[in-house]
């Protein structure tokens, strides 16, 4: 079997799901921008992964370092010896030297494979090619990494950048079917997944048919012999296609079931799901849908974003038009709003006064308009408007000036200010005039 394509057209998660569904064995090579990775699959599960630009030694070293299992110098010495012609694999050498146990080595190899796969999942551009074949080499005792486990864990570890996003479903919760929302077709029974519509695996269909408000998904998954990640992935896929909905805790009390114990199923992984390449095509087909369902779906998908856009736009408009109402939005804060506006206006008036008085020292009269202050660089154009964006009307008789803010096209006298040169000994010629005195002059007679 040979499968190849572009990662941009068909994301890696879909490729892996497709290979899992067909329980394929062989090598999947993925060529990204910076590296090439060869993924070994056995019966649809990942059993090894190697990168061109990253050696096994580097990967293992990083894992051991993170887990604090081996001292870096011991590991480096083992690598040197191995490269110097030591027989067997590096893993065997590490076990032989007693640096790690066999189980620890296998766990580390599995973790290294997982980390490499995570890296590959983030690639959005590149090419892939699958070479089918049964001759796959992997470490003996390696526990296969199921595609379901890989994808579910990647949701948390990559936060959506691995192709899958959203929360991991709670298997302890109960779910119920959403009637007639999507016609689900079962891979194998209804076709090979190449047609339109939503395709699910037989196990997922079984889980979908069994979900109820009384029983948790974990219990049902256990009854269906599904592992933890298989159950989570099945729920994730069913929820994603709106085939079931989350209800919360089951209504009847039941013993909590730990799906972890059935996770590492020794049986080969079975085909479960195949999602058509273009998700948008789901909308086109289903004859079984009721007439109202697409419209409902559109409303549900668009209502949040549309409301959010309107709201954000409104917020921006409110800020542009009346900034203080953004800070103090409640009706009973009217008084405080006007106090804040008055404070902002006062500081602006003081700045304008400073500029006008500086102008007076230069020209021996107040400016005839704000433009003259702008020309001298004493104020900027922003300073000609108040905090609400309203223009400030300016008038002068050379030794006094008045600023009246324009509110709704009218001058607001109560918010206006009048300044004069009086009181400033540098501007006011009267200031230094010697005060007249009523005291009689004193005559000294010789």
């Amino acid at each position: 079997m040979s499968l190849e394509g572009d990662l941009q057209a068909l994301g890696l998660p879909k490729v892996l799901q497709s290979l899992t569904a067909q329980r394929s064995s062989g090598i999947l090579t993925v060529q990204g921008e910076d590296d090439i990775v060869a993924v070994s699959l056995l019966n649809g599960a990942v059993v090894a992964a190697d990168a061109l630009n990253q050696t096994v030694e580097e990967g293992l070293g990083e894992v051991f370092n993170r887990q604090n299992l081996i001292l870096p110098e011991d590991f480096a010495a083992a690598v040197r010896d191995h490269q110097g012609g030591g027989s067997g694999s590096l893993g065997d050498l590490l076990v032989d030297r007693g640096l790690v146990s066999r189980d620890e080595l296998l766990n580390a190899l599995r973790q290294q494979t997982y980390l490499l796969m995570l890296q590959v999942l983030t690639w959005s551009q590149g090419e892939f090619k699958f070479y089918g074949g049964d001759e796959i080499s992997f470490e003996e005792g390696f526990v296969p990494l199921s595609v379901e486990e890989l994808l579910i864990r990647s949701i948390d570890d990559l936060g959506g950048s691995g192709g899958l996003a959203g929360p991991v479903p709670d298997t302890g919760a109960a779910y119920r079917r959403v009637p007639q929302r999507r016609p689900a077709q079962v891979l194998g029974r209804d076709g090979d997944g190449s047609g339109d519509g939503v395709w699910i695996s037989a196990e997922q269909e079984a889980l979908m048919l069994k979900v109820s408000a009384q029983t948790s998904a974990a219990t049902l998954a256990s009854e269906l012999n599904l592992g933890r990640y298989q159950a989570e992935f099945a729920l994730y896929n069913l929820l994603r296609h709106d085939l079931i909905e989350h209800l919360g805790a089951p209504k009847t009390s039941e013993m909590p079931l730990d799906l972890q114990q059935v996770e590492l199923d020794p049986e080969p992984l079975r085909a479960e799901i195949f999602t058509p390449p273009e998700p948008g095509e789901e909308d086109l087909g289903p004859i079984a849908q009721t007439r109202s369902a697409p419209a409902t779906d559109v409303i549900q998908r668009w209502v949040g974003p549309v409301l959010a856009i309107v709201c954000a736009g409104w917020l921006a408009l409110a800020f542009l038009q009346h900034q203080t109402s953004v800070l103090l939005p409640f009706p009973w804060q009217e008084n405080q709003r006007s106090t804040l506006e008055r404070s902002l206006r006062q500081s602006l008036y003081l700045k304008l006064d400073r500029a006008a008085k500086t102008y007076f020292l230069v020209e021996v009269h107040y400016p005839s308009s704000f433009d003259e202050l702008v020309k001298l660089g004493l104020i900027s154009t922003v300073d000609q408007r108040d905090q609400a964006g309203g223009d400030l009307a300016y008038s002068t008789d050379d030794v006094t000036y008045r600023i009246v803010p324009q509110v709704d096209g009218h001058g607001s006298l109560e918010q206006s200010t009048t300044e004069a040169i009086t009181g400033d000994f540098l501007l006011d010629p009267q200031f230094l005039r010697t005060p007249s005195s009523n005291v009689q002059p004193l005559y000294l007679l010789d």
Partner: protein, 604 residues
């Protein structure tokens, strides 16, 4: 006939004070009430008359200043640098005679002349005028901002950047400008937080609105068909818009409805935003008070006097100070210190004497006044009286170097050399460097005694009392406002309670956990662009509340400073960086932020 200027001066001053106080009784009452609203009102009421009685010699010096400035402007227009230098020398000498060191208003005016010359493309004249502006007041950031304007006019953009940077550094050294800048920073952060909070709620609605609608529609669907239920629910989601101030109620309503759908971190962010909304009125109230105080004429006068800056409305501003705090000992001492600096020793002496009398009752520390009275008598050659005052000053403040130094000088004049040596040894023990400087100063023996600026040194006390008086009055007169401010916190508490109760009820029925987004976002390319261009979308999908808020906070904060708007307080500066610098920072920051996001998303 013996002419006793001191006694007459004191009597005249006493009479003058009484007269003016009588005349100002009504005025002061009005002023004090108005001051609770705004100090500026007081400034207007106090008029142009100076609170500080100026003697003819001082008036003469001030006239000389004006004449020197006129000479300077004539020299500017004639492009006569030599004459301008001469006028500048006169200006600085006169300023020094008045006990001050710089002339900020004239420095600004010189900067304006420099810009004017640059506009006429006379950059040579512009350069020397700007240099003189620096000499008139070396600490003014306005000179650097004017230099930036001139550099822009000459096309020197490196000069624009360096001068703006230099000016910004100087700005931080100016107490008033620094305080305003810090409050602007606070206001900016509050704006950014509130706006980001609104957008956070919007983003939550974008990512979880579908699920909310779905759940609400399911709740109604048994009697109604699915489509009708969906439409009705969509309408129900926007009903608060019909209320007055609908937008804020809509945001709060959504946040309550969406709170249960959020992860722990998202719930925490909602809580933080609600609390911010409740605490903002209190924070703003404190901020306004601090800004108004900073811009108030008395504080302006204190700041300038402390730095030795003689500015045009100094006397009017001091009038406001005396109106607001007429009996404050620091006001008196400050006034006396200023008289002394201006050389009006008789006025200074009479105020210091009144202060000493009052200190017996008030217990206000008066060592500086005692020392300065000693200096007064020392200048008159009354060594015995001077020794008494200096000795009393050292008793009240055993760490006052000036008093010990002066005592040594006075003892020496009385031929009490051993006492003089002892006092000098103590002075040197306290501060050898300063004593050495005083010893090297070439002055007559009468002028060798060193005065202490007690009032100037204690202006922080005056500032604190001004703030306390004003705060107390403001709070007592605006109890309703106080209630209104705290009412917001009660509303926030109610909102939190409502959200939690709703969550408890809703969790029995279960929440839909599926992300319902427009199908267009299922396309990888469209989704990538959406993630790059909508900050916080990726984190909101991953239900990381803190990251979502920060992702929104950064561009919102940058956008606020990029917009040329009057949301901030202005520092009373003749030249400032204007809106150009923050706009540039905001726009460059926004461009860098979104480019980085696009790069990150396209790479991943």
């Amino acid at each position: 006939m013996v002419h006793r200027p001191a006694a007459e001066g004191a009597r005249r001053r006493g009479g003058s004070i009484r007269d003016r106080r009588q005349a100002w009784i009504v005025l002061s009452a009005v002023c004090v009430v108005l001051a609770m609203v705004c100090f500026e009102a007081v400034a207007e009421e106090s008029g142009s008359e100076s609170a500080l009685e100026l003697t003819s010699p001082v008036r003469q010096q001030l006239r000389l200043l004006n004449e020197a400035w006129r000479s300077w402007t004539r020299a500017y227009y004639k492009i006569d640098r030599e004459a301008a230098d001469h006028a500048l020398g006169q200006l600085m000498t006169t300023t020094s005679r008045l006990g001050m060191s710089s002339l900020p208003d004239l420095s600004n005016a010189a900067s304006a002349f420099a810009v004017s010359a640059a506009r006429e493309e006379d950059f040579e004249r512009s350069a020397w005028v700007l240099d003189m502006a620096r000499q008139l007041d070396p600490s003014r950031p306005e000179t650097d901002f004017a230099a930036a304007t001139i550099a822009r006019l000459s096309g020197d953009y490196v000069g624009v950047a360096t001068s703006t940077l230099k000016g910004s550094v100087s700005l931080m050294k100016l107490p008033i400008a620094r305080t305003i800048w810090l409050h602007d920073l606070g206001l900016w952060l509050i704006y950014a937080l509130i706006l980001s909070g609104g957008l956070f709620v919007a983003l939550q609605m974008a990512t979880k609105g579908g699920a909310l609608l779905y759940d609400l529609a399911r709740f109604m669907s048994p009697p109604l068909d699915l489509r009708t239920a969906d439409i009705l629910t969509a309408v129900a989601l926007v009903w608060p818009l019909v209320l007055p101030h609908g937008l804020v109620w809509l945001m709060i309503y959504w946040s309550i409805m969406l709170w249960g759908y959020g992860s722990r971190s998202e719930k925490a962010v909602f809580m933080i935003l609600w609390l911010s909304l409740g605490l903002t009125p209190l924070a703003l109230s404190m901020q306004q008070r601090a800004v108004q105080l900073t811009l108030a004429p008395p504080v302006r006068a204190i700041d300038h006097l402390t730095a030795g800056r003689l500015y045009g409305s100094l006397f009017a501003d001091l009038g406001v100070l005396e109106t607001l705090m007429p009996d404050h000992p620091v006001t008196r001492e400050l006034e006396a210190d200023l008289h002394r600096r201006f050389g009006q020793w008789e006025h200074a002496r009479s105020i210091y004497t009144v202060m000493l009398d009052e200190s017996v009752v008030t217990g206000f520390e008066s060592a500086a006044a005692l020392n300065n009275l000693g200096v007064y008598h020392h200048r008159k050659g009354e060594w015995g009286t001077a020794v008494n005052y200096f000795r009393e000053a050292t008793r009240q403040n055993s760490g006052m170097t000036e008093a010990f130094f002066n005592l040594a000088q006075a003892f020496s004049q009385l031929y009490k050399f051993s006492d003089s040596n002892l006092a000098m040894a103590r002075a040197k023990e306290l501060d050898r460097a300063r004593v050495t400087t005083w010893e090297r100063t070439d002055v007559s023996i009468e002028e060798s005694a060193v005065a202490v600026d007690g009032g100037f040194q204690r202006t922080s006390l005056l500032r604190q009392d001004l703030e306390a008086n004003w705060r107390g009055a403001a709070e007592s007169t605006t109890a309703v406002d106080l209630w209104r401010r705290h009412f917001s916190l009660s509303v926030v508490a109610g909102v939190m309670l409502l959200a939690m109760t709703l969550h408890l009820v809703r969790s029995q029925m279960g929440y839909r956990s599926t992300l319902l987004e427009p199908r267009v976002l299922l396309d990888a390319k469209a989704d990538r662009w959406a993630r790059a261009l909508i900050p916080g979308l990726k984190s909101a999908r991953a239900e990381r509340g803190g990251r979502t808020l920060i992702a929104l906070l950064i561009p919102v904060a940058l956008l606020i400073i990029a917009l040329p708007m009057g949301w901030r307080f202005r520092a009373p500066l003749a030249f400032d960086p204007g809106s150009g610098l923050p706009m540039t920072i905001g726009l460059v920051g926004l461009a860098a932020y979104f480019l980085a996001r696009i790069r990150l998303e396209t790479r991943s």
